[in-house]
Amino acid sequence: MFSKEAIKTSAGRSPRQLAWRRFKSNRVAIPSLVAVSIIIGAVVFAPQVCALLGISPDIRDESAIDSRGQVIGDWGGISPEHPFGVVPGIGYDVLARLLYGARISFLIALMATLASVGMGMLLGMIAGYFRGRVDGVIGRFTDFLLAFPSFFMILALSAPMVQRIEMSGIARDNDARILYLILILAIFGWPYLSRIIRSQVLSLRERDFVLSARALGASNSRIIFKEILPNVWTPVIVYMSLTLPGYLTAEAVFSYLGIGVQPPTPTWGLMIADSTKFIINEPTYFFIPSLSLILVVLVFNLLGDALRDALDPKSEN
């Protein structure tokens, strides 16, 4: 009935290949993947990109602003020398600061994501695998953290904790602030993933392949890392792609409120906060970092949705 060719193409596709096919057939998946790759590339290679364009984040271009600090030219001083214009009052190149600022914002978002995913996976797997009292303790602790007003605590703890980190000698100034943001975002972030992983592991541990591994005398750690771990990557990947843009926004918000990285180091939140001072005369300077943030969050969200649809076709919405 079926041609040999058809049998050949339909047979033997791994789940990964199936997911990749679903991913490719999604209209927004590939464009958003390309966009995310370009953004990450530009951020990682910010020094090279800036050198190529002949721009620098901390060289003042006196010729681009007049004696009162006003930007010369319309649209925030956009010109071939300064593709995204210059910062009013000081004459820094906006694109260069945007790229260098993104390195800090992305670093915080990425590290916080990795840390919260690590904690969430570990504790979720422990809770789901060992159940009983361990599960109870971890579960109550998650409830407690979720009931805790995290936004307040992140604000309230910033100054003393940064001071603590500085006193301990691990990091100084902005490094200490970056470290604080990463840690605190991760601490309040892991319970969400931990719950998802826990429920997955609860059902996984009763599956035949786990039972047979146990019958063969495999140790708990072997079962957790070799049998269960490979089966929980799907929610983890989806969770990561949707958490990263959330943390990018969070970094911008905290910088905007004045508790993140301090000037003159550029981050997107600081640029937006700074630009509001010039909002009437130089709206371009406000819109460039703001729209960049929206665009980046948007493409990451699109990629995350596409990944979820591809990896977990059952999930609607």
Partner: protein
Amino acid sequence: MSGLLAYVSRRLAVTFLILLAVSFAVYLIFAFLPFDPASLTCGKNCNDPGIIEANRIRLGYDKPFYEQYWVFLVGLFAGRNYGEGAAAIHCAAPSFGYSFQQHACVTDLIGEALPVTLALAIGALVLWLILGIGLGVLSARFRGRVLDTVSTIFVLIGTSLPTFLTGLMLIIFVVIKWHLLPFPAGGYLSPFEDFPGWLNTMILPWITLAFAYAALYTRFVRSQVIETSTEDYIRTARAKGLSEGVILGKHTLRAALAPIATMAGLDFAGLMGGAILTEAVFNLPGLGRLSLGAVLDYDLPIIVATTLLAATIVVMMNLVLDLVYAFIDPRVRV
């Protein structure tokens, strides 16, 4: 009915314990910070050891940590006196403490800020429920058509746009570019004294806050309606010859109402802790700005109070929602 009673009392006990744990944790965290609360009471550049020591004794910071916590708990129910004699300051119950930087009882400060946050949150809630449910139902009804695409784009933008950017952009366009509204003066007007002025100051904050939530609710309502419309009882209703409008209003939406109410309750409770960003952007003197100011000035009694208040409202709302469910659906009570 006795099952319900047992359930209620059990839940009340657990709620009380969670609040106790949160308050204790907040106290514990602040007790072990490398800050001297007494020297913070007289402002940032104050070095007079006499005043600091007097305040330390007056505020009870000389006592051990657990005793301070106990006094704080007692003060919540019985009120508190600071100092003795003619110079004593009295904060009536429920006392959250005294802010030496603002020279006021924290409870009074909260009492001033609460109506602002309440007005902000209620207005935004109404707006996002109308927008979210309306758009969600319409895009489910006209699935795959132009309206659905428009609402999908709205959802994408709404979920990607940080609140403070929405607010700033509204100010730029509506106020500065198009002159549709006067510049927000900052501060808050009572609706009972100046209703148009109140509307004027609140409309942009409402839109700002409602925008992000409306996007989430649109997505949620759409998927709920689509999911319910495949149920057997909807097919039955259609087979009976009921009009699409009646099916939607009486059968499909009713099933989606409970989860929407849960979401709305929790989101509303979350906002009551203060919509910090919206209040900061529009300069509204609500709970969010109170706590943000306290954080930046290190006004410990206010921080402890607002953190506790935020947690209390969230936990209480959880309790109320669960109780409502238990009342409606006996299966929950087990």
